[in-house]
C-alpha cells in the first residue's frame, strides 16, 4: 500500500490550469522529492493534499483511504511561507498548534516539552517568537510540524533560513522520522537535498508531471554509457565502431581528461580492460547525470533524447 496516491488530479483557476491531470504515487516510509520550477503547481498540489483547497477532478487516497477531514491529524505540513504568532509564547504556540491537529492537551504538553528538551532549548518555553532569531523560530516551526507524529510529513523548502549546523540537525531528525515509519515529501529547488535525501522524485513543470520514479531509475533513464577517464599521454585509439570520443582536454603536464561514450551493452569493466592496454589510466568513472542537469534540461523543454545527448557533453 502506498502512503499517498494522487490520480489524475486537475485544478483550474479562471485564467489558467494549475494542475493538469497529475498523478503521483508515494511509497510508504520513503523520502519523496517533489521538484519543479516556481509556479509549476507544486504548492497547489500540496495545498490540495492538505485540503486547504479542493481539486476539480481526480482521486487522492492516503494510506489506502480516500482523503477526508480526519486526515488533518495524519499530516504534518511545513509551508514555504511559514510563520508563527509573534506575540505568543513558544509553549502556548506549540500546545495550540498540536491541539488543532487533534492532540489532547496533556499529550501536546508532554510532546512539546520532550521536543524542546531534544533540541536543548527548554528555556524557550516562556519566550515569545519575536524574541527569537529566525533560525530559532524555524526550529520551533519544525517541532510544530512533527510533534503530533504525522504519518505523512510535507516539507516545503524546509532548509531555507537554516544555518548549516541547524540544517544538519533537521536533516538528522527527518531521517529519524523516516526510520520510525513516517513518509516525507520534500518540495524543493535544492538539488543537493534531492541527491542526498530523496529516494523517489517527481518533476512537475507547467502544471504537468513530466517525470517520476526512484532516483536510481531516473538517473538510469538518462544514463548514456559515457565515461570520464583521466590518463597520461594523449594518444590512444579505440575501436571507433564501439567507442566515440566525445571530448578530450589537457589537465596538467601530460595528464589528459577524455570523455568517451561506449556503445550500448558495453560494461564499465570491459571499458577499463581495454583502456588499460592502451594508456596509463589515472582515474575512471561513469558519468551519471546529476539531478540538477536533468531538472534544468527537462524544464527548459528538451525531450529525453536531446537531453541525453546534451548530458554527455556537459
Amino acid at each position: 500500500m502506498e502512503a499517498l496516491s494522487v490520480k489524475n488530479v486537475t485544478k483550474r483557476y479562471t485564467n489558467h490550469v494549475a494542475l493538469d491531470n497529475v498523478s503521483i504515487t508515494i511509497p510508504q516510509k520513503s523520502i519523496y522529492g517533489l521538484l519543479g520550477p516556481n509556479g509549476a503547481g507544486k504548492t497547489t498540489l500540496i495545498r490540495i493534499i492538505n485540503q486547504i483547497i479542493n481539486r476539480d477532478a481526480g482521486d487522492i487516497t492516503l494510506f489506502g483511504e480516500p482523503l477526508n477531514e480526519s486526515h488533518v491529524g495524519v499530516i504534518g505540513y511545513l509551508p514555504e511561507e511559514r510563520g508563527l504568532y509573534k506575540k505568543l509564547k513558544i509553549g502556548d504556540q506549540l500546545l495550540y498548534l498540536a491541539q488543532l491537529k487533534g492532540m489532547s492537551r496533556a499529550q501536546a504538553l508532554e510532546k512539546s516539552k520532550a521536543w524542546l528538551k531534544k533540541f536543548q532549548v527548554t528555556d524557550w518555553w516562556d519566550k515569545k517568537v519575536e524574541d527569537l532569531s529566525k533560525g530559532m523560530a524555524q526550529k520551533v516551526q519544525f517541532i510544530s510540524t512533527v510533534m503530533h507524529e504525522p504519518k505523512l510529513i510535507i516539507l516545503d523548502e524546509p532548509f531555507s533560513g537554516f544555518d548549516p549546523v541547524n540544517a544538519k540537525l533537521i536533516t538528522e531528525e527527518i531521517l529519524a522520522l523516516r526510520d520510525r515509519g513516517s513518509t516525507i515529501i520534500f518540495s524543493t529547488h535544492r538539488m543537493e537535498t534531492v541527491e542526498d535525501l530523496c529516494d523517489d522524485i517527481a518533476l512537475i513543470n507547467k502544471s504537468k508531471k513530466i517525470l517520476e520514479g526512484s532516483k536510481k531509475q531516473v538517473k538510469d533513464q538518462f544514463r548514456s554509457n559515457t565515461f570520464l577517464v583521466e590518463h597520461h599521454g594523449n594518444s590512444f585509439s579505440l575501436d571507433p565502431s564501439r567507442y566515440e570520443i566525445v571530448k578530450q582536454r589537457l589537465i596538467e603536464g601530460d595528464l589528459y581528461g577524455t570523455t568517451l561514450k561506449a556503445q550500448a551493452g558495453i560494461k564499465p569493466n570491459q571499458v577499463i580492460r581495454e583502456l588499460i592496454e592502451k594508456t596509463e589510466v589515472s582515474s575512471f568513472q561513469e558519468k551519471l547525470p546529476s539531478m540538477a542537469d536533468i531538472f534544468i534540461g527537462l524544464v527548459q523543454g528538451e525531450d529525453e533524447d536531446a537531453l541525453r545527448r546534451h548530458l554527455q557533453e556537459v
Binding site: 485540503q51 509551508p79 488543532l100
Partner: protein, 445 residues
C-alpha cells in the same frame, strides 16, 4: 466544533492576557469618575475659598443700605466723587461704585471704577446685587411683601403618560429619560462594533503577515478560523464591558460618597427612613420637595421595561457585532497591512456611521417617525437605531422583524465574508481591488 472552541479560547486568552487589556479595562471606567471627581473637587474648593472682593461705594442717592453679598464686601465712602477716586487709587480694593441720585423707576448712571478688568461673572454678580436691591425698593413702593412674592413663584411640571393603544395601559414616561437611554445604548453599540471590528481585522492581518495562517488552515477550515476569531474577540468585548459596568458603578458611587453626594437610590432610601424616624414634619417636607425631581426620575426608571431593554440591547449588541465583524475579517484577509485596509474599511464603516449620525439627527428626536422605523429595520443601521428607539416603546412586530432581518443579515455577511476570506488569507502581494474581491467571492474552492 471542538476546534472552533480551541480557536475561541486562544483568541480570548491572547487578548485578555495582554497588559494593555488590563490597563484599558481598569483605566477606562476610572477616567469618567476621575474627571467627575476632579470637577467636583474644583467646584468645592472654589466655593470654599471664594474671593470676596471689597468694593467701595459712593452712594449719592442715599437709597441703599449695604449688606455684604457672597462675592462682594461693601465699604461705604462719603465725600465728593473726585476725592473718592483719589482715595480709591491709593487703596487695594477691587473697585469703586458710584451711584448718582436716581428715580427708582429709572435707575441709571451707576459706574464701576476698577484697576483691573472685572470678569463677566463679577459684573453679573454686581449688577444682580443692585437689581435685587432696586427691585425690593419697587416692591415696597407697590406694597408687596415677601410672602406674597414667594406665593407668586410658579413651577409647572407636566407628567408624561403614554397610553398603549392595544392594551389601554397607561404608563408614566419621561422623554428626557428615553432620550438618555437611547443615546447611551446607541453610542455603546457603535463603539463596540467599531473598536472590536477593527480588532478582528487587525488579528486577521497579523495572521496573514506573520504567515502562520497557512499552517492553521491545514488544520482547520478557514471559515472555522474566521468564526473562532470573531467569537473569541466578542467574548473579550463582553468581558471588558461587564467589568466596565461593575467598576464604573462602584467607583462612581464611591466618588460621590466621598463628596457627600448620594446616588439616587440611596437618597430615596434615606428619604423614606427619615420620614419614618423624624417627627419634624417641616424639614422633611422641604427635603422632599428638593428631591421630587430625583424621585420622579427613579420612578420613571421603574416604569421603563428594563428587562426588555437589556435583552434587546444584548441582542443588537451581538447581532451588530457579528454583522460587521465578519466584514472586517474579510477586509483583513484581503490586504497585507493595516494601511492597505483603509480603502475597504470605508464602505463598511459608512453604514455604521450613518446609523450613528441618524441616531442623533432622526432617531432620538422622533423615535416613531417612519425614517426611524426604516433605520431600525434595515440590518446595517438597525443595531444602533433600534436601541436608540427601544426605550420609547417599539411594537413587538417591528422588533421581531428587525431581529429576524438582523439574523439573516449577519448570516449573509458571514457567508459573503467567508468566501472572500478563504481565498484572501492565502494571497499575499496581490494588488486587490473590488473586482479581485468579486473574483475571490466567485472562486470555487
Amino acid at each position: 466544533m471542538n476546534k472552533i472552541l480551541l480557536i475561541i479560547q486562544r483568541e480570548f486568552l491572547n487578548r485578555v492576557q495582554k497588559k494593555s487589556f488590563l490597563l484599558t479595562t481598569i483605566l477606562v471606567p476610572l477616567i469618567f469618575p476621575a474627571i467627575m471627581g476632579i470637577m467636583i473637587y474644583i467646584v468645592v474648593k472654589q466655593s470654599e475659598v471664594t474671593n470676596v472682593k471689597t468694593v467701595q461705594v459712593l452712594d449719592d442717592s442715599h437709597k441703599f443700605t449695604f449688606k455684604d453679598s457672597k462675592d462682594f464686601k461693601f465699604k461705604v465712602v462719603t465725600g465728593s466723587l473726585d476725592a473718592a477716586k483719589v482715595a480709591y487709587d491709593s487703596s487695594e480694593d477691587f473697585g469703586l461704585v458710584y451711584i448718582p441720585p436716581f428715580e427708582i423707576s429709572d435707575p441709571k448712571g451707576f459706574t464701576l471704577l476698577s484697576h483691573e478688568n472685572p470678569t463677566v461673572e463679577q459684573m453679573g454678580s454686581l449688577e444682580g446685587y443692585f437689581e435685587d436691591q432696586v427691585r425690593n425698593m419697587k416692591l415696597q413702593q407697590y406694597k408687596v411683601d415677601q410672602a406674597t412674592l414667594d406665593a407668586l413663584k410658579t413651577d409647572i411640571d407636566i407628567r408624561q403618560v403614554t397610553k398603549d393603544a392595544a392594551t389601554g395601559e397607561e404608563k408614566s414616561s419621561s422623554s428626557g429619560l428615553i432620550y438618555g437611554v437611547g443615546f447611551v445604548l446607541g453610542i455603546l453599540i457603535y463603539m463596540f462594533v467599531l473598536i472590536y471590528g477593527i480588532q478582528i481585522m487587525q488579528g486577521v492581518i497579523d495572521e496573514k503577515t506573520s504567515k502562520v495562517v497557512e499552517v492553521i488552515v491545514s488544520s482547520v477550515k478557514p471559515f472555522q478560523l474566521m468564526l473562532g476569531k470573531i467569537i473569541g474577540i466578542a467574548s473579550v468585548g463582553l468581558l471588558q464591558f461587564i467589568i466596565w459596568i461593575v467598576l464604573s458603578f462602584g467607583v462612581t458611587s464611591s466618588v460621590l460618597a466621598y463628596f457627600g453626594l448620594k446616588t439616587p437610590q440611596k437618597q430615596m432610601m434615606e428619604q423614606v427612613s427619615k420620614q419614618v424616624d423624624q417627627p419634624d414634619q417641616n424639614s422633611v417636607e422641604s427635603k422632599a420637595a428638593q428631591n421630587e425631581g430625583l424621585q420622579k426620575m427613579v420612578f420613571n426608571w421603574s416604569q421603563l421595561p428594563l428587562a426588555k431593554i437589556a435583552a434587546v440591547f444584548v441582542f443588537f449588541f451581538l447581532g451588530g457585532y457579528l454583522l460587521y465583524g465578519s466584514l472586517f475579517a474579510a477586509v483583513g484577509s484581503a490586504v497585507d497591512s493595516i494601511q492597505d485596509a483603509q480603502q475597504f474599511q470605508f464602505p463598511i464603516t459608512l453604514p455604521l456611521l450613518i446609523g450613528y449620525m441618524s441616531l442623533f439627527i432622526i432617531v432620538l428626536r422622533d423615535p416613531n417617525s417612519s425614517a426611524s422605523f426604516w433605520l431600525s429595520i434595515i440590518p446595517l443601521t438597525s443595531p444602533v437605531a433600534m436601541v436608540g428607539r427601544i426605550a420609547s416603546g417599539v411594537p413587538n412586530w417591528e422588533l421581531a422583524l428587525s431581529m429576524g432581518l438582523l439574523i439573516i443579515g449577519f448570516l449573509f455577511t458571514t457567508w459573503v465574508a467567508g468566501r472572500i476570506y478563504r481565498v484572501g488569507i492565502l494571497m499575499t502581494g496581490t494588488k486587490v481591488n473590488y473586482k479581485v474581491l468579486a473574483k475571490w467571492f466567485m472562486t470555487k474552492q
